[in-house]
């Protein structure tokens, strides 16, 4: 009897035209889960995907009830899925959060204006208030103008430095308690590797923290720290989420860095490798005697800075004085004392995939 039943069970999925989902064992499997290679159905995928993020949020106490949280929203897949999942989890599990969308308008015609349209649609779709801060308002320059002045070299340095500060300023305007960004597991694994390759021990020690900047004005957190990029794409695809997928026009041809390529290759032979890299990053013991940069505030704008002036002010000063090279590379700038964080710009280009400095938190 039993044998017959088992045979039937084994034969069933073939009849149905595919295997059964190995979680619910009812519906037909629709996808192979990138993280585990399990064949599961769509509904179960949504559930495990959302549940894992919920667990990460709970275990790491990312949010407290009543907090105001800004979601850094670029209109791309990561932030769109983050907005979607966070608003859903907030409702489902009664986090009691006030969620906001926060976007930065770099002033890039043909790229950011279009992606901001996506974010504006998201504002309506998810019912989350949106705040847009622009480089033009904050710094008096759009990226278009900056590129016109300095050309296509080093423009990503300006953009990255300005964005980091713009997000903090926008978050302050929204009076939020925390900023959630869409960095995914692939991004973090890539950052771990890059910091090893660059010899940046200080960043290596903090790049895997799920919450950063707790001593700063507005802490940031990464709810997608353990979420695979592929699964985010899958989620967006199956849920037909409205997101913007064009590359920045100033960082063209979707140049994939060595490190990103390497991670994708690793994922192909061992999906777990991405999590393993993050785990290694968490377990690295960094000696306490390793010198860490001291944090102070910028004398000019009051933003956190390890130097006299913050990076954004140095770059801005250069732009306004017609010396755009100021603060770029190894040339001597306003901060004559030994500085860090700038000289990597050359090496970065070839090994890093995202040139826009989105990882430099």
């Amino acid at each position: 009897m039993l044998a017959v039943e088992m045979k039937e069970a084994a034969a069933k999925p073939v009849k149905a035209g595919g295997r059964l989902c190995c979680i619910c064992n009812k519906r037909r499997a629709a996808l192979k889960r990138p993280k585990t290679l399990e064949q599961i159905c769509r509904e179960c995928f949504y559930e495990v995907f959302e549940e894992e993020i919920h667990q990460v949020i709970v275990e790491n106490q990312l949010f407290k009830p009543g907090e105001r949280i800004a979601i850094g929203a670029s209109g791309g897949k990561d932030s769109t899925v983050l907005a979607c999942v966070l608003s859903e989890l907030n409702r489902r599990h009664n986090y009691g959060l006030d969620l906001f969308l926060l976007s930065v308008d770099e002033g890039i015609t043909g790229y950011r204006d279009d992606s901001l349209e996506t974010v504006k649609r998201n504002e309506i779709q998810y019912g989350l208030p949106l705040k847009i801060v622009s480089y033009k308002d904050l710094y008096g320059w759009t990226m278009d103008e900056i590129v016109k002045t300095i050309g296509l070299k080093n423009n990503c340095t300006f953009c990255g430095v300005f964005r980091r500060q713009a997000l903090d300023r926008g978050a302050a305007l929204l009076k939020v308690d925390k900023l959630a960004t869409g960095h995914n597991a692939d991004d973090i694994a890539e950052t771990v590797l890059l910091n090893i390759l660059r010899g940046d021990i200080a960043r290596l020690s903090r790049c895997t923290s799920i919450i950063t900047g707790e001593d700063g004005p507005i802490p940031r957190c990464k709810p997608f720290k353990y979420t695979y990029e592929k699964e985010i794409v899958m989620y967006a695809y199956f849920k037909r989420l409205d997101y913007f997928s064009t590359e920045c026009i100033y960082s063209p041809n979707a140049y994939r860095g060595f490190a990103r390529e390497f991670i994708k290759d690793l994922e192909r032979i061992r999906p777990r490798a991405i999590l393993d890299i993050i785990q290694s990053g968490e377990n690295f013991r960094i000696s306490t005697s390793t010198k860490m940069p001291e944090q102070g505030t910028c004398e000019r704008c009051g933003y956190i800075s390890s130097q006299k002036w913050c990076k954004a002010c140095v770059l801005l000063e250069g732009l306004n004085r017609g010396l755009p090279k100021l603060g770029i590379g190894r040339s001597r700038g306003l901060n004559n004392d030994r500085k860090k964080g700038t000289k990597e710009s050359n090496a970065k280009k070839s090994i890093e995939s995202k040139q826009c400095g989105t990882l430099d938190f």
Binding site: R198, I269, D276, S280, I286
Partner: protein
């Protein structure tokens, strides 16, 4: 070679160690301005023609200066970390490749020099350290025709005997000897052991651990107290990346320091600061004979990592150094130095000679428990699992629980019956090591009272 400041892209903070490296480099790597005017002489001695043919940084040296620079790095590591002292008996692991060939050559030169000093000195107070050579024959796993392996071993014998005086003993040991003293039985056991491991990378790594076990066995059976490996910067850089990828971030610093004394015979890496490229050049230059056996190219993660690192190195010639230096800043373990020898027999002259740059004890991590397979120190989450061992019934289960998470994933079989099989095939020294570890005590106690315990399965039946 440590990157000189002008080409260093990394945000490294200089610490003492680096300052020291630079002190060496500045003597060998003069400032670029100096050599601009006279391009056609060696940047160091300023008289000979540089070996421009090789290109790159090395091409700026003449052959003699290149050689002495490389030997200098070796000697600095040996003296800084007290790797070899006059009373030692040193076993050099020789694979036939260029790195271990250079290691053997340099150890030989060092021994030769101290022999000359010994002969010349009147009181003959400083003895000459002994040197032996070990070759692990892996032909039972890598399919090599038997006449080829015989030929290779002949060549190695010739090569080692040509290095005398002083005479160096050569130990050629088949890897399967670690599984059983009977060679054909050992071969079968080793083959079936490797067959149980399904992951290609796991298989490769297990073999690596067995190789180390074999070397340790040779060392302890023949009275050696140091094991010299030819691991160069390039090799270590690959290990740093692959250990990171395998989730071994906690134990990584243990593997890549100059000294690793967690083994019965401490392991030393005197070529840690030499690039593979430099070692290759030296072999060509001096006609150092290498014995390349058919080595299966790396599969899986290890192969991917090594091609990735090669790519990065091509893009930036100081990349491998940067990787090793970054990982070198991770806090090492207490066993990453040669234990202090307070023996009064040790002459003060010797002690003075050893420029120990040892770690401050409070800076290193002390760890008691090690993975029985890879011998890497276990981290907190591994230990947590280990402390919940009470529920484990069989010795194979408790063995599995004592392994690090990386070995559990890539080496241990998933289902219990293969695990049982795997456990029975494991070499004795490995099982013995597991018994030594903290879990061993527990399971040993358990074994003693086993007959009095009522197991769950008995209950049910």
């Amino acid at each position: 070679m440590a990157c000189n400041a002008s080409s260093c892209q990394s945000n490294c903070y200089r610490d003492e160690e680096q300052a020291r490296e630079e002190a060496v480099d500045s003597s060998t790597n003069p400032v670029a301005d100096d050599n601009n005017q006279n391009q056609n002489v060696c940047v160091k001695c300023k008289s000979n023609e540089p070996m421009s043919a090789t290109g790159g940084d090395d091409g700026r040296f003449c052959a003699d200066c290149f050689r002495s620079n490389l030997y200098g790095k070796f000697r600095l590591s040996v003296t800084s970390y007290a790797m070899i002292s006059p009373t030692d008996n040193v076993l050099v692991a020789f694979s036939g490749g260029t790195s271990s060939r250079v290691a053997l050559q340099f150890v030989h030169e060092m021994q030769n020099k101290s022999q000359k000093n010994f002969d010349a000195s009147r009181d003959r107070s400083l003895p000459v350290f002994g040197v032996g050579v070990a070759f692990i024959d892996e032909s039972s796993i890598v399919p090599v025709p038997s006449h080829e392996i015989d030929k290779a071993i002949q060549e190695i014998r010739l090569l080692v005997s040509n290095l005398a005086p002083p005479r160096k003993e050569l130990h050629v040991v088949p890897i399967e000897n670690i599984c059983s003293s009977n060679s054909s039985d050992g071969r079968d056991r080793l083959k079936s052991l490797l067959d149980v491991v399904s992951d290609a990378t796991g298989k490769e790594d297990l073999l690596l651990h067995l190789r180390m076990l074999s070397l340790q066995k040779i060392a302890s059976e023949n009275g050696y107290n140091r094991l010299v490996l030819g691991s160069c910067t390039s090799r270590i850089a690959c290990h740093v990346i692959s250990a990171t990828v395998k989730g071994q971030g906690y134990s990584l610093p243990a593997d890549m320091q100059y000294v690793d004394a967690r083994w019965e015979t401490p392991v030393v890496l005197p070529l840690r600061d030499c690039l593979a490229q430099e070692l290759n050049i030296l072999c060509q230059l001096d006609g150092l004979k290498t014995v390349e056996l058919l080595k299966g190219s790396c599969a899986g993660i290890n192969g991917l990592v090594s091609s990735f690192v090669t790519l990065l190195q091509e893009e930036n010639p100081s990349r491998e150094c940067t990787i090793v230096r970054t990982a070198g800043k991770l806090t090492p373990f207490h066993f990453n130095r040669i234990p202090e020898n307070n023996d009064s027999n040790l002459l003060s002259a010797t002690r003075r000679r050893q420029k120990r740059y040892n770690l401050k004890p409070n800076e290193s991590i002390s760890s008691e428990s090690f993975c029985p397979i890879c011998n890497s120190p276990l981290n907190k989450s591994d230990l947590l699992r280990l402390s919940n061992l009470g529920s484990c019934q069989t010795s194979s289960e408790s063995f599995g629980a004592a392994c690090c998470s990386s070995c559990r994933f890539q080496i241990l079989p998933n289902d219990p019956s293969s695990m049982e099989n795997f456990y029975t095939l494991l070499p004795q020294p490995l099982i013995a090591r597991a018994k030594h570890s903290s879990y061993g005590n527990l399971s040993l106690l358990r074994e003693q009272i086993q007959d009095c315990l009522v197991s769950d399965s008995e209950d049910e039946s």
